[in-house]
Each structure stands twice: as structure tokens, then as C-alpha cells.
Amino acid sequence: MSHTSTSRARSRVLRSIELFRPENRELRNLSSVRSYLGSLFPSVKVQLRPPIAETLDGDLLDSLASSLASARVKDPTMPRQKFEPMYGEIDYERRVLDGEARAGGLVYDGRALEDVFSRLLKPSTDQALIVITDRLISTFSTDDVRHHLRTVVCGFPNIVSVPGIVEAPARPREYYLMRQELEVQGAGQLRLEQLKRSFKDRFMDYGDSRTIEVVKGLALQAVFFHFTLDPFCGNRDCRFFNAHWQEDLIRSQIESGGLCKRHARAIKALGARPELEW
């Protein structure tokens, strides 16, 4: 392992990028994400890992289920809260981990999940860990004192939320106005799919074939965070743009699908010399 130390700066080579698959099977094929990262970081080993739960058993699984239940966001207007999970919540998490139930419809505190996964994976600087999850994740913002859903929570490990790609960035304003109108007319359920179709391509939906492209960008963002602790870019045509709207997400991750000049240079340099410095 390359490890240098001086009084002014220290550095460490990134040896591997570990991608952990989600629990549900819809997005298990992450080989194109591996290839994408591998092409940018040719000297770094990019590995696909099974879902975290598949590497655990017995008491560890029970403990993970309990920790996941505790990581739920119960009140979106409150910062991270500690609470004793209910029997049914732990049972549900255990069934999700066992593949007997589907994750969905719940929000987990991204930083709490980071703590849970960190205890299990024990991150180090020479490994960039990216957990792809079927869970919705959020972080609490002190700006408007509420939780916000996220596509990615960068940290150690990084967490990429597949449903977050659909739910976190807002859909076009007109969509919400029209949907509200439908609900007032009592036709919300009946015409929701039609409404969605009329906005086709303007936002990501569940089962969208473009999802994997977005995951590639978010995974790259996570790796960049691992090097720099600064994952975002202000340029809407850069994959590191922090999209709050679906149209911006689609523009930055799919239509552009590339990086701005500054970040392209940075990634090229890191690809040639994948070293973290601090």
C-alpha cells in the first residue's frame, strides 16, 4: 500500500471501489456502473458486492434489522430522533433483509443509515464504499428545518438511493398543479398514469430504463466525494450538479451525461493518479 507522510501533507492511494447491490432484484445488474467507473479509474479495482444483508446471519441480521428500524424518519420536521423501534417495524426490516418483503414507502435518515452501514463495513480511505439501496433516504436541513429526500448521501460509506432518483428531485411545477386539480375532481387515482404519460421524459419514474445512467453519475459523484469531500458542481450540464428538479437531474445525468471542464480535468487527473491527499 502506498502511504506517504510528511509534516505538511499525507496521501493514500485509492485501491478499490466497492459497489454493494440493493436488496430487491430490480437493479441488481450494476455491471455497466462497474465498467463506467473502471474506465475512469483504470488502476482502481471496481468490485460488485452482494447486498450487505447477504453477508450476515443470525444475531447480526437481527441487529441490522433493529438498527434500520431505528433509522426511520418519523417526523420530517424534526432532526434525527432516537426511539425504540416497534416489534412490527423490526419484523418488517428483517423480512426485507431476508427478501420476503419489499422496501418502499418509508424514509430513512441518511446519516443514521451511514452510521449503521459504517459499523458493518468499516470504511477506510483506500476503499470507496458505495451502498446502493432500495430505501428512500433523507437529510435534515437547518435552512428550512425539515428533512429532504436525497438521491445520494455522500459519506463513509456513500449511499445511493434508487427510489430517491424518482422521489427526491421535484417534478415539473405544472405536474403538481394538474395533479392537485385531478384530486379535487376525485379522479386522482384514475388519471394519474395518464397525467404521468403527458409528462413523459420530463421526470424519472419507477422502472425507468434510464435509471442505471443516473446511478452511474451518482456513483461517480460518490467516488469524487471520497477524494475531495466536495461532491457538487454549479454547472447544470455536469454530472456533479446537485439537482433539486427532475428536469435538472435528467439534463445533468442523461442529456449531458458528462462532466464540466473543471470536473472532467479533475477526474482525469484522479484517474491517472488516484490519491487522496490531506
Partner: protein, 262 residues
């Protein structure tokens, strides 16, 4: 010649009393008591009865079906999303496909068929009967329900000194909708802490309600919208498919428990 056979008032009275007394004798100690006769409660009841489990549904209203008679905004077309239409098939409910994966049917048709299916499967029903309290046994396991006539609660207290009766059961299912009345009785005793509705609306929240249907406390299973209240899941609109699937899952969990599988 009269249309009907001759009978006396006393025979009619004896028929009602003797059958009701016989029924109540059976209800005093049964397998599963389901509180609430809405879509999830009836679905759970029907599935269990088909497996020869003794089931009693306690419904506070005169009518069964809860909100299943009518859809959103007082319009009586109800919608279900796939795969819940398979349950409509089982119940013999005719429906139309509105678009791929979304089906619609008249509420009165679906509701009456579900009630009929539950009754024909052998479910016992006490309507106009309110849930009053729970019976607790060792380690605070829920082991039955205390019930009373619904009208008793509607009369002035000074003329309603009518004590309730207690019915024992191996399991109780809370299918009381948003009120989660059985779970609330545990909460009053400090045995559980419900979360109320979550504030966020997320498309997959229907899945979450189905997936969380099951035991929330020893002896107590929760189904339908009571699941949302218990666990603080995101609020939903009128989504009957999830109520039916939630009831089915509740029945499945109950049956496995009764058979000692889990």
C-alpha cells in the same frame, strides 16, 4: 290461501334468541376476533374462515363494508391497482380495465360481494357491536376483546348502566381503520407507542401498508389503515387494493401463527 306458513310471535322470538344464544356461546371462546368489518377486516376474515379457522367480526355499525361502498369524493366507482384485481376475480366481482394495471368497479358491487364471500366462508358477525377494551394475559399478550352494544354508547350515561361482555380468542386483528382502536387500548396502558400518520405522500406507501400488516404486539395483528396509524406510514388516498392485500397478509400471518409455523 295465505302466501306464508303459519307461525307465532313466540316462535319467532324463540328462534332469534336461541340462535343468538348459541352463536354467543361459540363467540365466548374463538380463534380470531377481528375488530372492524371494512375491506381489510372482511378480507382477513374470509381467508381465515376458508381455512376452517373460527372467526368473529365485530362491527360497530349496522352495515358491514366500512368505506368500501364508495370511492373518492363520494363517487362510487372504486379503483384497484394490479395485482389486487386477482382478489376481485376470486370474489366474482366484475370490473373494467381503465388502463394497463388499473381496474375499476362499482363500489356497491365489490363491497356486497366481499361481505357475501365472508359470510359464505363461515365468518360470524356481530354488527351494531362496539369494541370496548382488550383482554390481556401473560406478558401482556392480547387474548380477546370486551364488547358492548353500539347503542349503549349513544345513550345518556345515567340510563346506560350496561356492563360489557368479554370474548376470549387466540388472536385479535385490529382492522378499525384510521382509529386503530385496539392498538390505542395498548397505548393507553403504555404498552405500545403509535406514530400517527406520516406527513409525506410517497407512491410506494401502499406497499408499505401491506408489508407492515402483521403482528404489532403479542396476540395482536394490525391490518388496513390501522397499519398506517400504528407505524406512522405515509398518508394515502382511498386505495382499496392495499386494504384487500393487507387483509390477506394479516390472515396469512394469523394462520401461520395458529398452526405454529411462526
Amino acid at each position: 290461501m295465505p302466501i306464508f306458513e303459519k307461525s307465532s310471535e313466540s316462535s319467532v322470538t324463540r328462534a332469534i334468541i336461541s340462535q343468538f344464544a348459541k352463536d354467543m356461546d361459540g363467540f365466548a371462546d374463538t380463534d380470531v376476533i377481528i375488530i372492524g368489518g371494512g375491506p381489510s377486516g372482511l378480507m382477513a376474515a374470509r381467508d381465515l374462515a376458508l381455512k376452517k379457522v373460527r372467526v368473529l367480526v365485530v362491527e360497530r355499525n349496522n352495515y358491514l363494508g366500512g368505506g368500501f361502498w364508495i370511492g373518492g369524493f363520494l363517487m362510487n366507482t372504486i379503483t384497484v391497482r394490479a395485482p389486487a384485481q386477482k382478489i376481485l376475480d376470486e370474489l366474482g366481482v366484475k370490473y373494467k380495465m381503465y388502463e394497463k394495471g388499473l381496474y375499476m368497479t362499482p363500489g356497491p358491487l365489490a363491497c356486497s360481494k366481499l361481505i357475501s364471500a365472508a359470510c359464505e366462508a363461515g365468518v360470524s358477525i356481530l354488527n351494531m357491536t362496539s369494541f370496548d377494551d382488550i383482554i390481556l394475559r401473560e406478558k401482556n399478550r392480547v387474548a380477546g376483546a370486551v364488547i358492548n352494544w353500539t347503542p349503549v354508547g349513544a345513550l345518556p350515561r345515567q340510563i346506560t348502566c350496561v356492563d360489557p361482555v368479554a370474548l376470549e380468542s387466540k388472536l385479535v386483528i385490529d382492522a378499525t381503520g384510521h382509529d386503530a382502536m385496539v392498538v390505542k387500548k395498548l397505548e393507553e396502558r403504555g404498552l405500545i407507542k403509535t406514530q400517527g400518520f406520516g406527513a409525506m405522500w410517497i407512491e410506494k406507501s401502499e406497499d408499505a401498508v401491506v408489508e407492515h400488516s402483521g403482528f404489532c404486539h403479542p396476540g395482536l395483528i394490525v391490518t388496513g389503515m390501522a397499519v398506517s396509524t400504528t407505524y406512522g406510514l405515509p398518508r394515502m388516498g382511498p386505495t382499496f387494493g392495499s386494504m384487500l392485500l393487507s387483509g390477506r397478509r394479516g390472515a396469512d400471518v394469523a394462520y401461520k401463527h395458529l398452526k405454529g409455523k411462526k
